[in-house]
Symmetry: C2
Subunit: 225 residues, 2 copies
Amino acid sequence: MPTKKPTQRPNQQPARESPQQPTRKKPQVTAAPARRRELLDTAAEVFAEQGYNATTVRKIADHAGMLAGSLYYHFDSKESMLEEILRSFLDELWGGYDTVLEAESGPRETLEALVTESFREIDRHRAAVAIYQKESKQLVAQERFAFLAESQRKFEKAWLSTLERGVAAQVFRADLDVRLTYRFVRDTVWVAASWYRPGGQHSPEEIARQYLSMVLDGIAVREQP
Amino acid sequence: MPTKKPTQRPNQQPARESPQQPTRKKPQVTAAPARRRELLDTAAEVFAEQGYNATTVRKIADHAGMLAGSLYYHFDSKESMLEEILRSFLDELWGGYDTVLEAESGPRETLEALVTESFREIDRHRAAVAIYQKESKQLVAQERFAFLAESQRKFEKAWLSTLERGVAAQVFRADLDVRLTYRFVRDTVWVAASWYRPGGQHSPEEIARQYLSMVLDGIAVREQP
DNA sequence: TAACCTACCAAACACTTGTTAGGGAAGGAC
DNA sequence: GTCCTTCCCTAACAAGTGTTTGGTAGGTTA
């Protein structure tokens, strides 16, 4: 009664380059990643829109055109979907961040690059970012999501050290509480994921430019000589 | 911490013959507000900490030292608790905002007053603000929570007009997208509820002061002799 | 004294939740 | 053809969900 017509989709390649062990019924981790990613993407959309707890596996299955039980052919559990979504997002995020940090530019250039990179990630992983924002606080308590805490520590260290370098180099103001500034910049950037829509009138780089202009120079008109 | 699980499978059919009886007294709306507020406060804490959907009425009852069913002596439903929490918060918020707006000060003073008032509300209604931040987006769709949408419109109007007045008066920069600036300021302020803890080392006014300093003047050092 | 009200408990109810077994259609491999 | 793998469906399960009903201890009033 509550089920819809399952949509048949033209199948793709049966990529099979690695002969499986005789272990039965566990294709989840090694199966063809195409359909897997597809399902994870739709799951991420629903998670982001309705919240993780309010999202039932039946809703995800609906959006994917299949039934709830069928999801368990691809994934171990609802929670493992969430974990994989967040993991792959953080992996890519840190790929970009590490590149920026290893460049060892000046503090202002580093901050600009971090902000720009962040908006690019929001552009590419809008759903994952929204989920991260909403749920990470409750998830870090679980052992399974301990990698979130580690990421947060790295994150804080990267931003704080950049800000402190800037204060030392006298390019950032010294009269501000650095931790407050950190939270200010961090939140300012990431909250954008809640309203940002890819394909809008502003590119990620353009948004980053304006945000940086506000954060660095403020919104007040400067007194001119 | 007594936890029982009396769930049973087999069906039962107890005698049930309760015809039209005089409707039971429903003191929910008119009862002594003391206990009511007490329960709403603990409910708000749990909602804020665990998220509305992840919070069961049994958890709320646990925190209040009673059983789940007993909550229904005071409230109609779980949802009505949420509604009352958000309603009373918004009522007080607009009490403060309207006072600021009716003063009709200059744009910069108005913005400063709005930000300061916002941090005061975060200080007084931390839980409600956190709930509002997390859940309002999904709630506005429901007719019951239409008052959230109305509040958002008023909110946006108040901030946007203040910013536009400031641009016209040449106290705020004209080269920025006003809507982007609005979201920037709005998010910057309210996200603070996610990490702010009352009784910390910074008073709401002090936090407002530093935030305003960053938003208005930026975090970069100004070039000055 | 009895009647009444307040604020709770105890126990269930109907429904939803994530999850699991078993099965089967489609298609390539042999 | 037969075998095997992939991918999904049908149909249930047990635990958990918000909520309702009836009852009751203790205080207040008549």
